[in-house]
């Protein structure tokens, strides 16, 4: 029975021609619509876009890394300057202490010589 229905459907739904002059009526409607010339296919476009994206990302990553290195260098320089400042201060203290002690020993020697004469 399925085959009967299917064959009956094929018979009932068989293709029908449109009225005479259909193609001419279609062509009349498109007379004022000139065919578009064939555009060259830009198959390279996706690859160019992908390459541009990769290039842009590389430049951004490189710039970021360069700036990070500069920031690290500046921080290390500041640390070095602070350390040198602290070392300078310590040396100044030591220098003063040494000067003070030598001045004290010189004055005590002079008083002893005076007593002898």
């Amino acid at each position: 029975m399925t085959q009967d229905i299917e064959s009956a459907l094929r018979g009932a739904l068989r293709p029908v021609e449109p009225d005479e002059g259909f193609a001419e009526r279609v062509m009349a409607r498109i007379t004022n619509e000139p065919l578009r010339p064939m555009r060259p296919q830009r198959r390279w476009m996706p690859y160019a876009i992908a390459a541009s994206l990769v290039g842009a990302i590389s430049v951004l990553v490189g710039t970021h890394q360069h700036e990070q290195r500069i920031r690290e260098g500046q921080a290390a320089r500041a640390q070095l300057m602070a350390a040198m400042q602290m070392t300078g201060d310590k040396l100044e203290l030591v220098y003063q202490a040494v000067n003070d002690s030598s001045a004290a020993s010189d004055s005590s020697t002079e008083s002893m010589d005076t007593k002898r004469f």
């Binding site: 029975m1 399925t2 009967d4 229905i5 299917e6 009956a8 459907l9 094929r10 018979g11 009932a12 739904l13 068989r14 293709p15 029908v16 021609e17 449109p18 009225d19 259909f22 193609a23 001419e24 009526r25 279609v26 062509m27 409607r29 498109i30 619509e33 000139p34 065919l35 578009r36 010339p37 064939m38 555009r39």
Partner: protein, 191 residues
């Protein structure tokens, strides 16, 4: 549709602006497009308009057509979309009796009883089911090809085929089809 040997040439020439070649494309495919739309909308005047619009759209998009097979695929897809869009915009039960009778008369010479009855019932299928059945029984496409044209899953296509055949069979045989759930919505039947 039998692809004529010179059709690729006609396609190439039409793409470069040859209107005679484009007219050849129209003549070669007008039967396919018109029949499909006529069976969908059941109105010869509307079918002519929609078929013309399909070819106008082809004219505007000719650059994107790559081969003769692609052309047929594209025409089927656009004709079906235009038909379904048209049906969705129509008030229910738009089918003109005179047009339905015309369609029935054309089928009557093969089977004087079953053909007209099937066509009458065909108009009560959902739009998607109608499209699936047309591509299957008018164009002899297999479910995979139908799924591609209508952008459906193969299972949906098979389901439409099975349910629609069951509906037509029960109705034409005059059986008690109380086991079929039939919902009438906007002039169509969901199974």
């Amino acid at each position: 549709v039998t692809v004529l040997p010179d059709l690729p040439d006609a396609l190439t020439n039409a793409k470069s602006g040859d209107s005679v070649a484009f007219a050849t494309l129209v003549r070669t495919h007008q039967r396919l497009v018109f029949s499909m739309i006529l069976r969908m909308v059941s109105n010869r005047h509307s079918a002519e308009d929609l078929a013309q619009e399909t070819f106008l759209q082809l004219h505007r998009n000719l650059v994107s057509i790559e081969t003769a097979d692609h052309l047929v695929f594209w025409l089927r897809q656009v004709a079906m979309r235009k038909s379904i869009d048209y049906l969705r915009c129509q008030p229910r039960n738009e089918v003109e009796l005179s047009e339905a009778a015309h369609c029935q008369d054309e089928a009557a010479d093969r089977d004087p009883l079953l053909g007209p009855q099937l066509l009458k019932l065909f108009d009560h299928l959902t739009y998607d089911a109608r499209a699936v059945m047309l591509l299957r029984y008018q164009d002899d496409l297999d479910p995979t090809e139908i799924a591609r044209v209508l952008s459906m899953s193969i299972n949906t296509v098979k389901s439409h085929l099975k349910r629609s055949l069951a509906f037509l069979r029960t109705r034409t045989l005059g059986r008690d089809h109380s086991d079929s759930v039939v919902l009438i919505d906007r002039g169509r039947v969901s199974l």
